[in-house]
Amino acid sequence: MQKIIYFILKYKEHFVFLGFVFVSLSFILLGDINKIGGFRSIVVATLGWIQKRVFLIPNVPALKSENSALRELNFNLSQKVINARVAEIENQTLRKMLQMKQRLDLTAEVSEVVGAVSIDLRNFIILDKGKNSGISPMMTVRNDAGLVGIVVACGSNYSLVELITNANVKVPALDLRSGVLGTINWDGSGSLLLRDVAKFMDVRVGDTIVTSKFSLKYVPFVPIGVVVKKEDEEGELFTKVVVKPFVNFSFLEEVFVLKKTVDPELYKLMHEYEQRVLLLSKEFPQKGIKLNPNQLMKEKRKQDSLNKLNNK
């Protein structure tokens, strides 16, 4: 013990020095560590080295912190991967559209779908281009996959497109392989039906259906869909042909408006004839039945608005 005391007294300056150094370092470490740049980096590096080389027991809080940081990094990276995939799909779609635009004989206006509306159980989409871009009613609308619909109304900067997925829309169609003609009509679910096809006609599953050149509204040879089912029912003259559309109507983003309309004279002629047929087919009320003037006025207004829309 005496030897130790003697040793300490002999080298007291050195012990005092070490003591002061220790106290000073303790003060520094307890203080504001943000102010000490070089010292902090050396301390961190040294502790890291000691932790790596000397300590055998893993530092649990450090591991937890590292795991948390890695999870966050993983999340960010996965988000980036998803973004990259979305961008890749978008890129492919745009490339397809670009190639198709070059292939088209007709001039086409590329337009973006900015909205979807449903009026009187009819489905429409709204395009971001209108008369200012040379779009007018009765122009066929398609995308890279196939037929989408027809422009029914135009503003200066927006257009309303009636989709072929409406029960009242009938599209004259053609079986591209056999040349059989029919009418495409939406069945109210997810598929289209090729109607007016007699049982004996040559329509097979896998045939491609396109718009017919006899159509007054639609541009001919625009792909519509592929035959997926053919059902012959007993006692029926016509066969039931189910067509799966090429277009995914729930994911419409960009479309082409084909700048070709039907001859206005021909269209007018057809329209007048249609009106005449409608008037002829309309039943007159029987004698003795009371007429409701309000109901009649409503019908008249509805008819007038439809006529105006068609005239535009």
Partner: protein, 170 residues
């Protein structure tokens, strides 16, 4: 007995002188150093005081004085507490190796004093700026600028020691 009381009185006087000198240098250092700073480099007069005390009183007292002065200066300057205490203690430790009893004035009048001041100041600045330098892109440039600049600037004040060599001055 009288001799002992005189010795005690002398010790108290010395403590008072050192305290006054410390306070004066601290005030000068904190309030007026910006007037003589060159590109942010200022001299550290406390180093010279610590060397003076260590060479005059010995290693142990020098260490105690250096640590106390360092801590005081850290608090007064609102710096990171402990940095000046550490560096001043290192200065005192280094200067203590040159301590020789009753040889103070000879050391002061010799060139050894400049060597001690230079080594102590350089070591002080190396350690001080190593701790305090900010982590930037030009960290090495800033580090050497302050280490060398401050050492040279402080050394200029040691030239005052030449006055002790002139006998007529005393």
């Amino acid at each position: 007995m009288v001799e002992q009381s005189l010795k005690i009185q002398n010790t108290y006087l010395k403590i008072i002188y050192y305290a006054l000198a410390t306070l004066l240098i601290c005030v000068l250092q904190l309030s007026f150093s910006y007037l003589i700073s060159i590109y942010g480099v200022t001299p550290d007069l406390l180093i010279l005081l610590v060397i003076w005390v260590t060479l005059f009183e010995g290693k142990l007292y020098g260490l105690i004085f250096a640590f106390s002065v360092g801590i005081l200066f850290d608090f007064l300057s609102m710096n990171v507490v402990g940095v000046n205490a550490l560096t001043k203690t290192i200065v005192a430790y280094l200067a203590g190796f040159f301590y020789q009893e009753k040889e103070f004035w000879n050391i002061i009048r010799s060139n050894k004093f400049f060597l001690i001041c230079f080594l102590a100041t350089l070591l002080h600045n190396i350690v001080y700026y190593f701790i305090m330098v900010e982590l930037t892109d030009s960290i090495f440039a800033i580090y050497f600028k302050f280490v060398i600049g401050s050492t040279i600037y402080t050394m200029l004040f040691t030239l005052l020691a030449f006055f002790f060599r002139i006998r007529k001055f005393w």
